[in-house]
């Protein structure tokens, strides 16, 4: 039987797998919790406004959120841990991927990112359930329908043309600003060179006033993310490392 597609070859090349391609370092000791990354991400990626009622109910669709947690065990009621900006960790072994029955949640072999194919999603919400980081956002209603939300007739002018506007009942999540990645890759290709680290950055990293978020290439040892992670190995950690999901976001915490 002939097929018109090229099947991906699954290899156990652990060196490449451990390395990854795109990565992020979040320095929690620098984060001030100002939410600029949340706003920037929402503007860049056309994350819809869910309205007061749904946001209050817990359906805000931000692709990145600032977690505030209180450490009650050490000093009851007193100490607050540092802010924790949480976005899709772009796991290499992503729990969200194998559970999708229709291949809407897929892994990009070339970029080593988790992709969500909005058009393919049928809304089983299994991926959101299975994500240990709870970073997936579901379009509970038609948040982009201008008939029910009149303010959208004005606000649609600020939509980013590079990013799809999602309709109701599909799952979405942080893409590591894949439209920026592809833009930079196209530019580098047209100039006949490799992509340079620091040539572009994600919206959250760009907006961060404290430079707490660094985005860049993981496969380049001289890149800013690798340097930042290597500078203080004692402070670096991955979220829920015990699940072996191999996340591509490193958190730096524990300094002063």
């Amino acid at each position: 039987m002939t097929t018109n597609i090229e099947l991906p070859v699954f290899t156990n090349n652990s060196e490449v797998e451990l390395q990854g391609k795109w990565g992020m370092v979040v320095d929690q000791d620098l984060c001030t919790g100002c939410q600029a990354c949340v706003a920037a991400c929402s503007m860049e990626n056309n994350v819809p406004f869910v309205g007061e009622e749904d946001a209050g109910y817990g359906r805000a669709m931000h692709w990145i959120r600032i977690e505030r947690l209180w450490d009650n065990t050490t000093f009851p009621g007193v100490k607050m841990t540092s802010y924790q900006p949480t976005m899709c960790q772009q796991c290499h072994n992503a729990p969200c991927e194998p559970v999708c029955p229709v291949y809407a949640s897929v892994h990009s072999q070339s970029e080593d990112l988790n992709l969500q194919v909005y058009n393919r999603c049928v809304g089983t919400r299994y991926c959101g359930n299975n994500c240990p980081y709870q970073v997936r956002a579901f379009n509970w209603r038609d948040y982009t329908d201008a008939r029910t939300r009149p303010y959208l007739t004005v606000l649609q002018n600020q939509l980013n043309p590079d990013v799809t506007v999602r309709r109701r009942s599909v799952m979405e999540k942080c893409t590591f600003c894949i439209q920026r990645i592809h833009g930079a890759e196209d530019k580098a290709k047209s100039e006949g060179r490799e992509i340079r680290d620091g040539e572009f950055t994600s919206a959250c990293a760009q907006a961060c006033p404290a430079n707490a978020i660094t985005f860049g290439r993981l496969d380049d040892p001289q890149s800013a993310v690798n340097k930042a992670a290597a500078a203080s190995p004692s402070r670096s950690r991955h979220l829920l490392d015990e699940l072996q999901t191999m996340p591509r976001v490193t958190y730096l915490t524990g300094g002063v």
């Binding site: 359930n129 240990p132 379009n139």
Partner: protein
């Protein structure tokens, strides 16, 4: 050397030992024609109350499954109560619940048929019908849950231009395959023993729209030796083949949860635990249905005697004990594992704002059956068994509710913990229950709910013989 033992006291015979075997259905035969006429009559004699109840149910079904579901489809899942950590809500509770209900039918008719438990004969069909109609509700509940239900065919392995195949890594695909297989098998298994009764109905229906219905479905069954032989062979094959299918279905349903990386769900005991849970709710539902049939259908008091309820009651007690064991196991596994998230989840389940659900579940699932079903007199009281069955079903519904919406509240990111409360799920749940009852009521007007030929076969095989002074019931194996 012979030794003589003298009883210290004359043992009083227990009241239950002195039971006249002639009270059993198998020893109380009626002429074949009369029995057929009784079944046909109870099928056709309809009181106005029946139509009133059917009309109310139909209105509820149209309003909920018609209008409310339309709202869900048109406005999105936002009209439900689901939110970020609780992506799965009452719809999947309903799915698991209805698949559980559907288990009893196959369990009773296949396992009891294979094991040749004689008291099963009058109520196998009533239980099998629950399987088919319960699976219909389970399927509907999955479709209600699906965000874009109009694209459901993307989950079917249909060859398409873009060569996108469904992902068989996903437990949901296993689920889809398992439920489809189970629906087809159980429908076949409902149909096979129905053929002789359809032929009987065909012969006893003079005219009307049901005549061609029976004529087509009876497949020209005339009752010749060869036809009986083929039918028995086919039924035997299905009875044995459907048992592993039945066990696999609920195991696979449990894998929807057990395969996930979630605290409380990722447990190896979930497979057998779900199967036993399904039987627990299913047996209880059979008790309710048998009570309703006995008290509403004409002549069914002859067929559905206390001994049938006794059998169901014993099974309910047995399954309740097995369920308690597995529930205990479900605590042992996290305890050995020592996962802190499992511990937090358990504390939340028991002491959290919904802790009363957990307590109610344990009470009605364990305490109530253990406290009532040990007594044969009580087991043989249909209304009591129906009440116990109703309570067990509430308990099993709560069990699924605790596993799904309460369980997903706790995850590994404490920042996202939020409590879920159902909104439009409530009328839609009522809708599935109404549709189940409505389908059952309409089916009771169309097909004989008592497998008359099986009862007759059993009555011919049973005989009372005198052994010394005692009268004992004997059974000649006709197969």
């Amino acid at each position: 050397m012979a030794s003589y033992a003298k009883p210290l006291a004359r043992r009083k015979p227990h009241a239950q030992e002195h039971e006249d075997p002639r009270e059993l259905l198998m020893h109380d035969p009626l002429p074949r024609g009369q029995m057929n006429a009784m079944v046909m009559e109870s099928m056709h004699e309809t009181t106005p109350i029946f139509w009133v109840v059917a009309a109310i149910l139909a209105v509820i079904v149209v309003y909920t499954l018609g209008y409310d579901w339309y709202v869900v489809i048109m406005q999105g899942q936002g009209v439900t109560g689901e939110l970020r950590p609780d992506y799965w809500g009452v719809f999947l509770v309903n799915t698991v619940f209805w698949i559980g209900i559907s288990h009893a039918g196959t369990f009773i008719s296949a396992i009891l048929r294979v094991l040749k438990i004689e008291s099963r004969r009058p109520f196998t069909r009533a239980a099998e019908l629950m399987t088919t109609f319960g699976l219909v509700q389970a399927g509907l509940s999955i479709f209600m849950h699906l965000g874009r239900v109009w694209l459901v065919y993307w989950m079917f392995p249909i060859p398409n231009e873009r060569t996108i195949w469904p992902d068989f890594h996903s437990p949901l695909m296993w689920d889809l395959m398992a439920i489809t297989t189970y629906l087809l098998c159980s429908t076949m298994y409902l149909f096979l023993p129905l053929i002789p009764d359809l032929a009987m109905s065909r012969d006893r229906t003079e005219s009307g729209w049901l005549k061609p219905f029976y004529k087509i479905l009876a497949l020209g069954f005339r009752g010749t030796e060869g036809e009986w032989k083929n039918l028995t062979t086919a039924m035997n094959i299905f009875a044995f083949a459907i048992i592993p299918v039945m066990f696999s279905v609920h195991t696979i349903v449990s894998w929807d949860f057990a395969m996930a990386t979630r605290p409380g769900w990722s447990s190896t005991v979930f497979g057998p635990y779900f199967v036993i849970g399904a039987l627990h709710s299913g047996m209880a539902a059979v008790a309710i249905v048998l009570f309703l049939l006995r008290s509403t259908m004409k002549h069914y008091k002859y067929f559905l005697r206390p001994e049938a309820f006794n059998t169901i009651g014993m099974l309910m007690l047995l399954v309740s004990m097995a369920w308690a064991y597995f529930y205990f196991n479900d605590y042992i596994v996290p305890w050995y594992g020592g996962n802190k998230w499992d511990k937090i989840l358990q504390e939340y389940t028991e002491k959290g704002p919904l802790g009363y659900l957990w307590f109610t579940m344990l009470f009605v699932n364990i305490v109530v059956p253990w406290a009532t079903l040990w007594n044969k007199k009580w087991r043989e009281t249909p209304w009591l068994l129906a009440i116990v069955g109703f309570l067990i079903n509430i308990g099993m519904y709560l069990e699924r509710y605790i596993i799904i919406p309460v369980g997903v509240t706790i995850n590994r990111m404490p920042f996202t913990w939020r409590q879920y409360y159902p909104r439009i799920e409530i009328p839609l749940t009522i809708g599935t229950f109404s549709l189940f009852l409505l389908l059952y009521m309409l089916a009771s007007r169309v097909i004989p709910l008592i497998p008359v030929w099986e009862v007759q076969e059993g009555q011919e095989a049973h005989m009372i013989r005198k052994m010394g002074k005692a009268e004992v019931s004997t059974l000649s194996d006709m197969e």
